[in-house]
Point group: C2
Chain length 296, copies 2
């Protein structure tokens, strides 16, 4: 394999597992595509699928699967706790190996175009693929949700990137974009005081004046407080830097960091960079990691 892309399509069905099975079938037994996970959530009524593989093969599978989702999901009767605007709600493409972000943007545009051409689903391009600044942020794109989309699409400012000014009657609207891999990361504090967790989360997150690529909050879990975050660009906001900053902030409140946790998958580079920092490694590159050479 040479170029590898990751795609994490989210489908608005997390309860009827037969329907979910039909939707993910497009990713199975397909040359060049590997289905890494399929996580239906009943409360959200949503399924998050993670696939990796050859960019062309993955793009084809996504388009096919969107057609199935548009058939089996009826958004007019959909309910669930997670915001959503379409049967195939959001489709991010993520560069993993030997790929640039620009190449992922190209794939997003091609898939967006095909979703409309083949299935009649209007598409907004978002994040790195966005065509206007206000479409970068997925939350803004999705604002109004499925129910508000018919009116939103009439607004010239929200004319879809592909499609006309009306939704797909059952499948709604889809956001297709390109972004860096997300690292979901939690840091444990030896306190049961949620306020301390909230203050630390505010100190490290972008919106609170913290790191550019951190979205963070605090939760109580198993009797302790966890600072829970998404690192939206681990190359620019490193795991070790966030970890050490949380340790530093915790000291202020007389509490300690007891450990941390990666949720789901993270790229090798995110871990290796932390080793590099703590061991003061110089002259280091990915090429020194044996496994890098197994993937060529």
């Amino acid at each position: 394999m040479a170029k590898i892309v990751q795609c994490v399509p989210n489908y608005s069905e997390g309860r009827d597992l037969e329907k979910v099975e039909k939707i993910v079938a497009s990713y199975k037994n397909r040359e060049g595509v590997k289905l890494l996970s399929c996580e239906p959530d009943a409360d959200y009524n949503r399924t998050v699928v993670t696939v990796i593989g050859d960019p062309v093969a993955v793009a084809e599978a996504v388009v096919e699967s969107a057609g199935v989702a548009a058939e089996v999901i009826d958004m007019t009767t959909h309910s669930g706790e997670h915001s959503r605007m379409g049967a195939i709600d959001v489709v991010p493409f993520i560069p993993i190996k030997d790929m640039t972000m620009d190449e992922c943007v190209d794939i997003a545009k091609k898939v967006g175009e095909e979703l409309f051409q083949k299935h009649g689903i209007p598409v907004f391009l978002y994040e790195e693929a966005a065509t206007r600044p206000e479409r970068t942020n997925l939350a803004k794109v999705r604002k109004g949700q499925f129910e508000g989309m018919p009116e939103k699409l009439k607004d010239p400012q929200w004319h879809p990137d592909f499609g006309r000014d009306e939704i797909h009657p059952r499948a709604g609207v889809t956001a297709v974009g390109a972004r860096m891999p997300l690292v979901a990361y939690n840091i444990d504090l030896d306190t049961s005081n949620l306020e301390i967790g909230k203050k630390i989360a505010a100190a490290i997150r972008h919106s609170g004046g913290g790191f550019r690529y951190i979205k963070a909050g605090a939760v109580e879990t198993k009797g302790i407080i966890q600072v829970t975050m998404n690192i939206t660009n681990y190359k620019k906001t490193s795991i070790y830097r966030v970890f050490e900053t949380v340790k530093m902030e915790a000291k202020r409140y007389g509490v300690h960091v007891t450990g941390s946790e990666i949720v789901g998958l993270a790229p090798m580079e995110a871990f290796v960079e932390s080793a590099e920092y703590y061991l003061g490694l110089y002259g280091f590159s990915k090429d020194k990691v044996l496994e890098t050479h197994l993937m060529d």
Copy 2:
């Protein structure tokens, strides 16, 4: 690819690059075999080759290449600074992915047998493949070097594992074995006092009462002192543990660790484990590293 083995054959030719080219040709354009590096050294008059790939394909390539080495290298006229006993001097097999050490031992035995059957080269099995305790250590196996081998092989204690009690007239004797990946690791100290480096090296190495899987020394380089080591089993003697111990010992002499360096390749796990330690990661496994899934 499924199972991946690494092999690091050493050939007793490091000056005549045409001969080296003929020897490594066996590893090129061969399905399932990837030549990672070929490092001829003129002083040693020796070439270290690193290949990875499918176990069966790598084994075949090694046997073929040994035949070439036996043709182009004449040990009766060989000189060089490195100890050696054969044209293809030593052949270690190293488990990299989805392989046990036992499987590597089996490959070593098969290759050893074929080196004698096909090329008439007598073979000692060493390290994990050794058939007697005194053959575990390569230095003991090679003691006497090429020149001493005719006599050594007459000693019933040193009857080869494959072959008769006489050397191959031009290619000598070969050691074939199985071992863990070696991590070559250096730690820099902000001192020019070699004695301090030597004391620290003695404190951390197995022979000095230190860690079981560390072989270490001290050298002066670029005006500073470096503790230089081989970690012979990074799973049991971790990089971070050695690094922190050297930091601790350095303190005793009023010197500081300024950085460290991996020489050559090291397995991903060696780095990831250090990240795991410093970040206090729990619930962690290789499966959380995205790239693990690219190699299946």
